[in-house]
C-alpha cells in the first residue's frame, strides 16, 4: 500500500474510532456508576478537557507534518477539528441542561457576567462557522478567505485555555500546562513563518 492508501484504509478509520474512545469511556463510567458523587460535574469536566485536548491535537497536525515530512497527516486535520467541535457541543450541552436547564435568562446572565463563561461560550460560537465550512464545497466556495476564516482557531484555542485557567480555584498547574503546549504550537508557527517568509522588497 502507498502512504495515501495507508491513510485512507487504516490510519484514518483508526483515528476516527480512537476519537470516540473518550466518549465511550465516559458512557461506560456513567452506566457503571463510576463518575463519583457528582456525575454531572464529571461529565462537564471530562467533555471540556477532551475538547481542549482535541483542539491542541488538531493544532499539532501542521507542526508534526512539517517536522516529519509526512504530508499525508493533513488528511486527519478536518476530522480532528470536527471531533473538537463534537466534544465542545457535548460540553456546552451538559452546562446548558444540567446547570441551567435551558433557563435562557440565567444562561445569558452567566455569559455576560462570568468572564470564564464569556470566553468559553465565545470559543464555542466561533467553532460553529469552522465546522460548517469544513466541507470541500465550502473550501471551494470561499477560496482564499477560507484560510483566513479558519485561522480564528488560534483565537479559539487561546480562549479555551483562558476558560480553563479562569475557572480553577487555586491549583493552576493543569491549565498552565495546556497553555504552555498551546504557546509551543503557536510559537512554532510564528518561527517557521518568519524563517520561510519571502524577502521583503525594498
Amino acid at each position: 500500500m502507498t502512504a495515501a492508501q495507508w491513510m485512507t484504509r487504516v490510519i484514518k478509520p483508526a483515528v476516527f474510532v480512537l476519537c470516540l474512545a473518550p466518549l465511550a469511556w465516559l458512557l461506560w463510567d456513567a452506566f457503571h456508576h463510576q463518575l463519583g458523587a457528582n456525575p454531572v460535574e464529571k461529565l462537564n469536566h471530562r467533555t471540556g478537557i477532551w475538547t481542549l485536548r482535541l483542539l491542541l491535537i488538531t493544532l499539532a497536525v501542521t507542526p508534526l507534518r512539517r517536522i516529519t515530512g509526512w504530508n499525508v497527516l493533513i488528511r486527519l486535520r478536518r476530522m480532528l477539528g470536527l471531533y473538537t467541535f463534537f466534544y465542545a457541543c457535548l460540553h456546552f450541552l451538559t452546562w446548558l441542561v444540567f446547570d441551567h436547564f435551558f433557563d435562557l435568562h440565567e444562561v445569558t446572565k452567566d455569559i455576560i457576567k462570568r468572564p470564564y463563561i464569556t470566553v468559553g461560550f465565545s470559543a464555542f460560537v466561533l467553532l460553529i462557522p469552522l465546522a460548517v465550512t469544513s466541507t470541500h464545497n465550502w473550501i471551494r466556495r470561499l477560496g482564499p478567505s477560507w484560510k483566513t476564516l479558519h485561522q480564528s482557531i488560534y483565537v479559539i484555542a487561546v480562549a479555551g485555555v483562558l476558560h480553563y485557567l479562569w475557572l480553577v480555584k487555586a491549583d493552576v498547574r493543569d491549565p498552565v500546562i495546556y497553555g504552555l503546549i498551546l504557546v509551543a504550537l503557536l510559537a512554532y508557527r510564528a518561527w517557521t513563518k518568519r524563517a520561510t517568509a519571502p524577502p521583503r522588497l525594498i
Partner: protein
Amino acid sequence: MLIKIKRRGEIGPAETTPRELFLDRRRFLRLGAGSVVTAAALSSGLWRPALADVKLPNVTKGPFTARDELTPYESVTSYNNFYEFGTDKEDPARLAGSLKPRPWRVVIDGEVTKPGSFDIDELIRPHALQERVYRLRCVEAWSMVIPWVGFPLADLLKRFQPTSRAKYVRFEALHDPRQFPGQRRAVLSWPYVEGLRIDEAMHPLTILAVGLYGEVLPNQNGAPLRLVVPWKYGFKSIKSIVKISLVEQMPLNTWARSAPNEYGFYANVNPLVDHPRWSQAKERRIGDFFKRETAMFNGYADQVASLYTGMDLRKFF
C-alpha cells in the same frame, strides 16, 4: 444510649444479627482479622483508614436536625475538598491512609486562663457526643446533608476560660507533608488557618466533629477533629485541627489570604452575594442532577441572622 445510624438502603444489624454478636464480630474484625486485612490492604493500596468504620459509643440525638434527605455515606467520604491531600475531589479518599489521626495533640492557647497541650482523647472525653444532621454548602455551589457526631465548640472553649480579650478564635490544621502529600506543593499557604468571631464560635450551631454517620471521622473528612459551621461555606469548617487559639485580632484565614477579592473572613452562605467568578444563587445537592435554590445562611437564618445585624454582607462576604 447507643444510637446507630443506618445508611440508606443498608440492612441494620438489629434486623439480622443480635447486637452483641454483631459487636463481637466487629471487635473480631477490628482486632484479629484487622491486622490481616490491614496488611493486605496496605500491599494492594486499598487502605481504609485505621479508625474509620468504628462506631462511636453513647451518641445522642442533638438539636437543629435538618429535615433534608441524607447524602449517602459513600458520597460524603469519596467527594472531598481537602487540599492537604490533593486538589482533586477523589484525592483525599485515595490518599487518606497517609494521615495518622492517633496519637494526636491539640494545643489550646492565647487569651485563655488555662492554656495547654492535650491528647485528643483527653480533650474529647468530658464531652457528650451528639448527632447533628447539618447541610453543608461548598463555595463551589454543591451541597450535602451530613449526620455529624460532635459537641458544641462553646462547651470546649468554656473549659479553658477565654479572657475578655478573646475576640476571635483562630484554628490551625496539621502541617506535615509526610502525612499530607498535597502540602508538598504550595497550592495554598500551609498550614491551613481558619477563624471565627467569638460570638460565632460560641453559637450553639457551631460544633467540633469527631465522627459522621455514627462512626469515627474518616481521614478524608478531617480526622480526628474538625470544625463544622453549617451556615458558612465549607472551607470555613477546618479539618484535622492541631491548634485552637483565642485571639484579639481577626485572623487571616487561608482562602482569604490566597484570593482576598474572592474569599472573605465571614464566608456566610449568601445567594445574593456572588463569588466574583460564579453565581451563588443555586447549588447542586450531591445526588441530584439539577440545581436548587440556595437559602440565606444555608437555611439557618433564624438561628444566626441576628449575629450580623447592621453589617453590609456585600462588604463582609
